[in-house]
Amino acid sequence: MDRQEIIAKLKDIMVFAMPDSADAINTCTESSDLRTDLGLNSVGLLYIVIAIEESFGVDLSDADFSDFNTVKDVVDYIKENL
């Protein structure tokens, strides 16, 4: 799975979690900040982590998701652990 496919799937996960932020999510780039650009709080991040695990089959139980700041951080982690 390449980065573009990962981002497309990630956007789908995030839009489901925050449908009202669909515009910001659909137009986000890898440098977008998860909190200040996309409005994710700590619980929202947790949702993303669990949803990634379920959607991508990646084990995130050892990841410190407070280290995820941008979309790129998440994509890098998925890419490394796929």
Partner: protein
């Protein structure tokens, strides 16, 4: 049994009677102290599972043996009744062992949040004059910076020291809170107050004894410590300590809890996961969700109801040892925080709820001015504005407190956030405030006023502020930043 106080007839005949199984309430005991509670339940439920995490599992008998060892370790290190001991432990069964050991010695457990930074740890150790801190191997290195501090991580010792006779008024726990003023301080909770608070968590429920609870809330908050840990233990329940939230998806189905205790944002997240990936995240045994910390939306109540799970909103404060009221009729009254529990006196002055009762705290640690302003005629001023309907149901209508309550239940004091950003040399002023996102959830927002004449562009200011923002612990990060 040391104590055989039955629940007063007033509460048995009240509205709660409709919601409590007779056999349940007949077995409920009002213990005078946490020590009386533990001495009774350890015998009464000795072979039942008490606590579990991903590594350890204890029945009540096994837990008591570990608690007796921990008391021995504490005594050997000079801990006596009334002494303050730091408890800096991540969510795991070690917390249960050490906490019960401290309180059954009638010493005082100063609960330090496990996410605290070095500066915050220094504040806690110095402010409360701690000489001993209990922790785990995982967190112990964070305490290396304190010279002369005794750090204990193990209760693996031969022997058993019995508990010490407790008085109701013995202060056994200090919880950090912003209270009404917003200034961070320690609320003193007595053994009697916590015992009442833990009992309140058991009232009004159809199934009370030997329930299975999943614990994911921070133990440094009363909702986690009292409602999610001590209330289940009060009635022979089993508590699973979830040390890693990212494993919720596997650990909830594996443990199959009958109860979850959640803040609304977590409840909403779990509901979304269930909707998207199927109900397996809920496990096969889940019947009740106790929800509080901030306003619970009807969508959460109705969403879980579709899975046959009842969501019961409640209202509580650190200063009231957690629960003041519980709503067991949430389908019909989704916006109420319910009916008040017994042994409390409530009055409303200028719209503000004032409280007095067995579950109330004993004041703030070494805060004479705060203690004077926190009470009026012996009643604690909650800072919450309420109305009560004809049937006695309470509704929160606003608040006078200088705190921000986020939808994930975190209480944030604006001044502590502002101070972080005011330290940047290009910042003239920083204002933290509550805003709402597009989904109407409360969020933490930050407005920055840069100094005049600085060489940085607006974008560079934003990037620097954002970098510092991302370095904060997750619940203290702003999700909206405005540069003036």
């Amino acid at each position: 049994m040391q104590n055989n106080n039955k629940i007063p007839a007033t509460s048995r005949s009240g509205v709660f009677k409709n919601f409590i199984d007779d056999s349940g309430i007949d077995g409920l005991v009002k213990y005078d102290t946490l020590t009386d509670m533990w001495e009774d339940v350890k015998e009464r439920f000795s072979d039942c599972l008490a606590v579990q995490d991903n590594l350890n599992k204890y029945t009540y008998r096994e837990l008591d043996l570990a608690v007796g060892k921990a008391r021995l370790v504490l005594s050997q290190n000079g801990v006596k009744k009334g002494e303050r001991v730091g408890v800096f432990i991540n969510t795991c069964t070690d917390f249960a062992v050490w906490y019960l050991a401290v309180v059954t010695l009638s010493a005082t457990a100063v609960i330090i949040p496990d996410y605290y930074s070095d500066d915050e740890l220094s504040w806690a150790v110095n402010r409360f004059g701690l000489n001993i801190v209990l922790t785990t191997a995982k967190l112990a290195p964070k305490l290396d910076l304190f010279d002369g501090l005794t750090v204990l991580t193990s209760f693996d010792i031969a022997g058993y020291k019995p508990s010490v006779k407790a008085q109701k008024e013995d202060v056994v726990t200090i919880i950090f809170t912003g209270g009404v003023s917003g200034k961070l301080k320690g609320a003193l909770l007595s053994s009697g107050a916590i015992a009442q608070g833990a009992l309140n968590g058991c009232l009004g429920l159809k199934e009370v004894f030997n329930q299975r609870y999943f614990l994911v809330l921070p133990l440094s908050h009363v909702f986690g410590l009292i409602r999610n840990f001590l209330s289940p233990i009060y009635v022979g329940g089993a508590v699973y300590f979830c040390s890693n939230m990212a494993t919720l998806y596997k650990s909830i189905p594996a443990f199959a809890p009958s109860y979850l205790v959640l803040v609304p944002a977590l409840a909403e997240m779990i509901l979304k996961l269930a909707t998207r990936f199927g109900a397996k995240i809920l496990g096969t045994n889940l019947k009740y969700i106790i929800c509080g910390g901030s306003a619970v939306s009807p969508e959460i109540v109705n969403g879980f109801n579709a899975y046959g799970i009842s969501v019961y909103p409640g209202y509580g404060l650190t200063e009231s040892s957690n629960l003041v009221s519980g709503n067991y009729d949430s389908i019909n009254r989704p916006t109420s925080v319910g009916l008040p529990f017994f042994n409390q006196q409530l009055k409303i002055v200028d719209g503000e709820l004032l409280l007095k009762g067995d579950n109330l705290f004993s004041g703030y640690f070494d805060e004479p001015e705060e203690n004077l302003s926190a009470f009026s005629d012996g009643y604690f001023k909650t800072g919450d504005l309420v109305r009560v309907d004809d049937e006695g149901y309470i509704y929160i209508t606003g608040r006078k407190k200088n705190i921000i309550i986020l939808s994930n239940g975190e209480n944030v004091t604006p001044s502590t956030i502002e101070d972080v950003f005011k330290k940047l040399d290009f910042v003239e002023n920083a204002i933290a405030y509550e805003d709402v996102d597009e989904q109407n959830n409360s969020i933490l927002a930050l407005k920055i006023l840069p100094r005049k004449g600085i060489s940085l562009t607006k974008e560079e200011v934003f990037n620097e502020v954002n970098k510092l923002n991302n370095a904060q612990v997750s619940h203290k990060r702003a999700t909206k930043i405005i540069i003036e």
